[in-house]
Subunit: 412 residues, 2 copies
């Protein structure tokens, strides 16, 4: 395994339990040897679910399965495997998903349609669902409310560290919890990243409200991260709400605009934002986290497009890898975005330093100061278009030789 990213959080957080969620991991040798590669999550009866799935025209079999199951909004189990994505595997892939759901349903004691499935890894390789047969029943028996770190580890592919986040919020008179895990690393771009993320809460929230909340909160979190502009066939973010906090007095929420949700929404956003940033920090080969803010655009949508044009520019990303404050390439990326921009009006900042304005290099620009800034782990790059009030921010990372090494050798 690669060394842990230098941008990894200093410690992996210890997650508390979420009432109604039990977890187990297993080694099914689906592709990897000597590590866990299966996660089973078991939910209490009454658990609701919402999801956001890849917009790829070539989605994986598990994505098709989840899309069909999300309408009903109920979940009792989640099965995730790493190593093989079960994408572009034809009819066999669909059969494998169905079989996995049946095995999990039997192990957990629920309907197959209440089982959610996600797979990540190589595209195009067939997934042998019988490998789940050995592991799912023992996993169902072993599932415990702890195990969060193990769960986050089991779903990793080229990730160098497990990604976990947690938050609490008051809902009515009760304290509710939100725990989230994610995996990312490569093929990361909105919408979504090649990311899997699973978020769990004990708050009692009806599926339609949960759906609205998740859709709204991914916009500036998971959908504002890009590692390489490549969107996966398998991107899946699922939010499960067990409702167990109702026993402690939390009110049942049926509407996403319910004012009692204020703290919950804030906490949910924090968990998703934390996981999204961890994904950027673990971009394949990443040595720097880059926060790109575009302001003064004609709209938020326009700001997003310009920010992504900068974030996905190989020339910007390699310059940052080289610790070079090459703002000329930022100009290039703004210019190519196809969005309203006026060359002679925009300003560019690295950190707090304005390096370019009024169509030219800032006369007071001190290259030494900016060069020192570029040596940091976290780089803030801001473009002010001075056209309107559109504001947006995306996260990305630099493009290093290690990205090429990781992706030139991944399959072999």
């Amino acid at each position: 395994m690669a060394n842990v990213s230098p941008l990894a959080p200093a410690t992996v957080p210890e997650l508390p339990t979420v009432a109604g969620v039990r977890l187990a991991t297993a080694s099914a040798a689906i592709r990897y040897e000597g590590r866990t590669d299966v996660l089973l999550a078991v939910f209490d009866k009454g658990t609701t679910v919402a999801g956001v799935l890849t917009r790829s025209k070539c989605p994986s079999a598990p994505v098709d399965w989840c899309r069909a199951r999300l309408a009903q909004g109920r979940a009792r189990a989640l099965v995730v495997n790493s190593g093989i994505a079960n994408a572009f595997t034809g009819t066999k892939g669909q059969v494998a998903v169905k079989r996995t759901a049946a095995l999990a349903a039997e192990a957990v004691g629920c309907k197959a349609t209440e089982v959610f499935i996600a797979s990540t890894g190589v595209i195009g390789e067939p997934l042998d669902a019988e490998k789940f047969a050995r592991v799912l029943r023992p996993a169902a028996l072993a599932a415990r409310p702890e195990n969060w770190k193990a769960a986050a580890r089991a779903i990793m592919t080229t990730d160098t560290f497990p990604k976990l986040a947690t938050a609490t919020a008051r809902l009515g008179s009760a304290q509710v919890r939100i725990n989230g895990i994610a995996k990312g690393a490569g093929m990361i771009a909105p919408d979504m990243a090649t990311m899997l993320s699973f978020v769990f809460t004990d708050a009692p929230i009806a599926a339609p409200a949960l759906r609205t909340l998740l859709k709204r909160e991914v916009v500036d979190t998971f959908n504002a991260v890009t590692v390489d502009g490549d969107t996966s066939t398998s991107d899946t973010a699922l939010l499960f709400a067990t409702g167990a906090a109702a026993h402690r007095g939390a009110p049942m929420i049926r509407n996403a605009s319910d004012r009692r949700l204020a703290e919950f929404v804030h906490a949910l956003h924090a968990v998703l934002a934390d996981l999204a940033e961890q994904i950027a920090r673990d971009g394949e080969g990443a040595r720097k986290l880059v926060r790109i803010t575009v302001k003064g655009a004609v709209s938020k949508h326009s700001a997003r497009r310009i920010a992504l044009s900068i974030a996905n520019s190989p020339l910007v990303k390699t310059a940052i890898a080289g610790e070079d404050a090459n703002w000329g390439r930022v100009v290039m990326a703004v210019g190519k975005a196809g969005e309203p921009a006026k060359r002679d009006r925009l300003s560019i900042y690295f950190g707090e330093t304005r390096v370019a304005a009024a169509g030219a290099r800032d006369p007071s620009y001190d290259e030494k100061k900016v060069s020192a800034y570029m040596k940091r782990d976290v780089i803030d790059l801001t473009v002010d278009l001075k056209l309107g009030r559109g504001l947006d921010r995306v996260l990305t990372c630099d493009l290093t030789k290690d990205y090429v090494a990781i992706n030139g050798d991944y399959r072999s």
Copy 2:
């Protein structure tokens, strides 16, 4: 300087003269030392010109200058420098262009408005036009009808070999010539590439007809090349027609649809296509030329968008660098393009071998055979969407560690 690309043509072609065109190069130490960095081309009276310029919203000062001059359609001189792009240089940049035109006009004996200018190199650095003062007059005196290779060398930046192409065509009773030079290497994407290209013919063609021809012929040549998806502030392709072949009996052409142009159009396309392929072959760090064909799309436009999605995917490009027939990443890139595609209908080929079809790996797919194919210098990747008759092809190259090295160190 980097080693010559392994994909370079075996020999640099010797270009014949084009009646009415004289060339000279000079060393003005604009940024580079110990090499030529200025090209002066001098044209006979009556030369017409057409151009295609970057669509960047942040164009360089020379691009603004050329755009304003192209309407009149007449040219007597071309000044090109490498090292500094004179882009995002504000009012000073405009003054520098004006001064360069005045110096060239004085040296050549023409109006400043008949001077075309192009600059390539670092963005944001001021260009000292006085550096041209020393070199343009001697260059005008030294200009000769030969010097093509020297001309192609003077405009190089990170290019590893000079790019030249030539063709002849019958026009009426005369043989006419078309010579072209280009530079590319990085920041290469439609529309255009960060490329400069200058094409010269002795055919007598009126400016409006020349414009129509050039616009039409760049679509499947220069605009079908991408190295990194980054579009430059400075992209410039100019086509100069001296008309000198009129003395040898070539008819004056006023209309692009004139049937007598058939051979000329064919030859022009060949020159542009040759230069475009050389640019892809010299993509920064390139070890493989990749030809991506998308067929069966709903339209040519849709095929182009899907082909570019594949060509600009870092994951596809790094896989090819690793000689890995990772068609799963091709599926990903098709899926993310946002264009009509049916997962269960499309086929993917590496060379002649169908690797995927009917939503899964081709059952007869022989990985060994394809692995051997991936070791070649030139890789043909074909996607057949089986939806319609839309067909398109783009050229790109692989993404290697050297691309990152070149672009992480370029300025420093």
